[in-house]
Subunit: 231 residues, 2 copies
DNA sequence: CGGCAAGTTTGCGCCACGACAAGGACGCCG
DNA sequence: CGGCGTCCTTGTCGTGGCGCAAACTTGCCG
């Protein structure tokens, strides 16, 4: 397998306090995989044999219900670990990560996880924190879905995307990957129709500007107000 | 602080492969607390200084929204660890665990967590798995809330309670702690009115039998069918 | 034993959203 | 440049379940 340059990961907080030698040792065990839009890193229910780190691009993690209904569980951003089912004592993957944009992924076999953690105890802690945050986010989402109306939920979702995948532009902040109305609907538990209507209304008020698979937030304050129910 | 007898915890899987001496050492650092119905172990947002193990009784973990809306995030059963925010690198508690029945709780100061884990590496793994499961459950709930109608969600919730807190009786399986319609509503993101109506309908079909803070499941199969959407 | 509080049931009206349906716009590819 | 697929918009209609309101039941406590 071709060598992977450590400059790829050097800047990630996850590797912040590792020596070059340690990083090289880890990268020696890794393989690199490039994904085109729409490709899956692995499939829900598949046996978990590897864990992953997203270097570049964007993944949406899907789950399907027995009836074929789809939802987006979360979005994976560059620098995020994902698919470490093994660490959670699962033997299959609970969801399917699809590339929403062309993406670059590091893959390690499960056995490496042990070394991974020994090599850098800081990392075990880091993984724990990551999971903790993820749990926290999940609970927040549950609370939103239980208590808030659709417009507020969508506002929250957009704010989150903005913070995690926002890119400053002259006229506002752009969500930095292709995002369909359908995607937003699947993140908030509604339909693309309703999302479309909401975006249209917001556009009329100058809060956002939409486009095919595009979204630009022009007035964060107004959006935050909507999210807090002061619509 | 009075000594705590190890017979209290000996039977828990969490301590399965620890020596008596190790257990005693851990218990020496613990304190025991009894909670009456309605009492809180700690409050949401409070600084996290301890972690806990439920020995007996039942806790419902509440979160309140900024508007005062309440939801039940999860139910803590005997043998469950809870409130280990520290392990997740949080410094405050994300929710409030209220005693749904009279309960008995073991409390350790945060500093012990390290020893706890060293003493029994199995335990770190166990904690990880616990969190993993919890995350998994959270995602399941999100998916349900996003895609299922109220009756199915309630059916799922009741099935879960049955499995985790069911007690065989002559006429079916009883949920083994006081559970109001309001509680079920807060677990499923609906109102007590709707839950009441649903229970009434089910009772008419002989699926359950209700009562003040009581619920008895008489026909698990029918309930499971409803949960799968074959109503 | 009688009264009170907490929990439950049920009816009614309304409305936010989902289902359905049709048409329009963007962008890719040959 | 023209055609097609994908994504988006907008209308109409129907309804699940929430809000509100009122009465009933159950268990507790004095």
């Amino acid at each position: 397998m071709a060598d992977i340059d450590r400059s790829l990961v050097r800047s990630l907080p996850l590797f912040a306090n590792m020596s070059d030698a340690d990083i090289d040792r880890l990268l020696a065990r890794a393989s690199l995989r490039r994904l085109l839009i729409g490709e899956a890193v692995f499939e829900q229910g598949q046996k978990a044999t590897q864990f992953f780190l997203l270097l570049h691009g964007r993944l949406k993690v899907m789950q399907v219900t027995s009836e074929g209904q789809q939802i987006i569980v979360r979005v994976v951003h560059p620098g995020d670990l994902f698919g470490f089912a093994q660490a959670l004592q699962r033997d299959d993957y609970p969801g399917t990560p699809l590339a929403a944009a062309e993406s670059l992924v590091l893959c390690w076999p499960n056995e490496v996880w042990g070394h991974f953690v020994e090599q850098n105890p800081h990392m075990a802690v880091n993984a724990m924190r990551t999971i903790g945050q993820r749990l926290q986010e999940a609970h927040t989402r549950i609370r939103e879905m239980a208590t808030e109306e659709v417009e507020r939920r969508v506002a929250h979702a957009v704010l989150r995307l903005m913070d995690q995948a926002g890119k400053r532009e002259e006229d506002g902040v752009r969500i930095d990957f292709p995002l369909t109305r359908q995607d937003v609907a699947e993140m908030t538990g509604t339909t693309l129709h309703t999302v479309s209507r909401i975006f249209s209304a917001w556009e009329g008020q100058g809060i956002v500007r939409g486009g095919r698979q595009k979204l630009l937030v022009r007035d964060r304050a107004r959006l935050a107000a909507l999210a807090e129910g002061e619509g």
